[in-house]
């Protein structure tokens, strides 16, 4: 479980103070699929960065999977990020000098896993995203949608509890966006908790819960309602994108 209580975060520059999060409280239960929406500059990325331990906060408390995150050392935060969290970025953030296999390998190496273990996880993660046959391609040889699927493979290879995605479909066309969304749903069904920031109301609607952030606060919180099966039209992974 991910629990934020009365979090505030202020960015100070010479000229202005920006209250990116103010008295921000949110709980995400295990197995949830939460979509976060809100206007630009409202604090969505800040929330996700705090949730993913990429940034700290000023006041309040944040518990990640039972661990109180305030006062943790930088190494401990790195370790938590590595073990409990998978991150998916809008611009994929694959390492351009490494092939697909080695990209997925990066977080596993930081976990000091044995080579055979890593190989197994990389292969199954790449198979899950439908790119098993591309293991030794370079990122630049893949389409955007394929790159994002590699990034998803990288995020889930370490089997994290939480998957945090900041507009993962923002740089993709709608077909590829739907493929990525299908993949996330599939991963969620396998038990991973997902927090997805998106501008796309269509995609947001497919999540179990919607959270709207306005001006650094949760303004609208729609609790879980089973969504209509009609909303789901999975696009076959292996087709279309030419995987």
């Amino acid at each position: 479980m991910l629990a934020m209580r009365h979090i505030s975060k202020v960015f100070r520059t010479d000229l202005i103070e920006t209250h990116a999060l103010r008295d921000f409280s949110l709980e995400v239960a295990e197995g949830d699929f939460v979509a976060v929406t809100g206007p630009s500059g409202s604090g969505k990325t800040t929330f996700l960065n705090v949730a993913g331990l990429l940034e700290g906060f000023d006041t309040g408390s944040y518990q990640l999977d039972g661990v109180d995150t305030s006062g943790l050392s930088d190494d401990a935060r790195s370790r938590l990020r590595n073990e409990k969290i998978g991150f998916i970025f809008q611009s994929f953030n694959l390492i351009p000098d490494l092939d697909i296999f080695d990209n997925v390998d990066v977080p596993l190496r930081y976990r000091r896993m044995k080579a055979a273990d890593r190989r197994e996880r990389i292969t199954s993660a790449l198979d899950l995203v439908g790119l098993g046959s591309r293991a030794h391609h370079m990122p630049s040889q893949l389409s955007g949608g394929q790159q994002q699927r590699v990034a998803i493979a990288r995020a889930i290879a370490g089997d994290p509890k939480f998957l945090l995605a900041d507009e993962p479909t923002g740089n993709l066309d709608s077909l590829m966006a739907r493929q990525v969304m299908d993949l996330l749903e599939q991963i969620n069904e396998m038990g991973t908790t997902i927090v997805l920031v998106t501008h796309d109301p269509e995609l947001a609607r497919r999540a179990q819960r919607n959270v709207q952030i306005i001006d650094g606060q949760v303004s609208d919180y729609r609790p879980y309602e089973p969504h209509a099966p009609a909303a789901r039209e999975p696009v076959p992974l292996a087709a279309g994108a030419g995987a």
Binding site: T45, L48, N49, G52, L53, L54, E55, D74, D75, S78, R79, R81, N82, E83, G86, F87, F89, Q90, S91, N93, I95, P96, D97, L98, D99, D102, D105, V106, P107, R109, Y110, R111, R112, A115, R154, A155, G158, D166
Partner: protein
Amino acid sequence: MITQDIRPILSALLRNRTGAVLVALQVAIALAVLVNAVYVVKQRVDKIGRPTGMDIENIFMVTSAGFAADYDHAATTAADLSWLRSQPGVRAATLTSGLPLSGGGSQNTLYPTPEVKGEGTSMNYFDVDESGIDTLGVRLVAGRNFRADEILPEDPTYRKPVPGFIVTRTLAKALFGTEDAVGKVTYDGLGRPMTVIGVIDHMQGSWVDWDKIGQVGLLPRRAFGPRALYLVRTAPGQRDALIKSAEEHLSVSEPRRVLQYVRSLDYYRDRSYQADRNMAIFLVTVTALLGCVTALGIFALATFNVNLRTRQIGTRRAIGARKADIVRYFMVENWLVTTAGVLLGAALALGVGYSLSRAYQLPRLDLYYLVGGVVALWATGQVAAWQPSRRAAKISPSVATRTV
């Protein structure tokens, strides 16, 4: 653990190798120059530091030249020597024919038989009187010193044979091998016998670049005029004061000659080694500069790579790299570049060393220098890469989500 990390670092490096190749080349050249320069410098320093066998710090020399028609060389030198010897702080003084380590002196060839055949043995000789050994501060290890009555009078034609003389151990060995030299006879260029009466431990002759600089002989002769060259040995610490007072006295004591130079013996030694010293200084300077330039190159490459990969570093941090992992990434990357350079440089250094040793008859490059140079460049690389690596580790993981 480190070796496990190397493969992906290496493959990423190989995809962006231009800068790395240039820096590796720089490291290679630096190593080749460093190793050979240090080696040459070491040889020069050793050469300058060779023992002279003499009490070099406490000896000075005086030269004068008689010019007047009625200049009396014998009387003047006798007066000069007796004045010098009477000065407090003077331990001994002698008239001599040449100045050790000065680049000027006399050489003779000795032969094993009166027929004067074959190669002969070179001897750098100095005419001295019975105070010669004491003045030079050389150590008699066998036989005896000259007696005062053995000193031959001055004779510009060298017609008088020299019955007995003193040799250095080095010359004794060149003449007679390992046998005891005292009492042995050798022959000068005119086939006249010369008997060794004493052996001194060691003394360097006139020419610092001569490979037989230790083959020195002392001959019991009063050096002829009208030029006079005196060697004076003082008690420790008194030399400079005595140089001054000798100059004051001798420049006025005899109007029929001019006093030319009154200088310490180590002045001449230093002058003779000037070229060696300049070479050493030049090489040290060049090497230090090259070292700095190489360190700068490594630093620049690491800085460039860190700046280029800001987002990648943020991403690595976001997906679990600790700061130490980031530092290690860049240190290992740098180490790979330096190692490539060092391997190439080692081959280059051996090649350069080999051709230098062929061209200048230097001894072959000592492998210790290569090992030392490799270690030095590895260390330089790691030191130079440290700051950029630390800076990389400070990049925030939020860079991964904040940069588009």
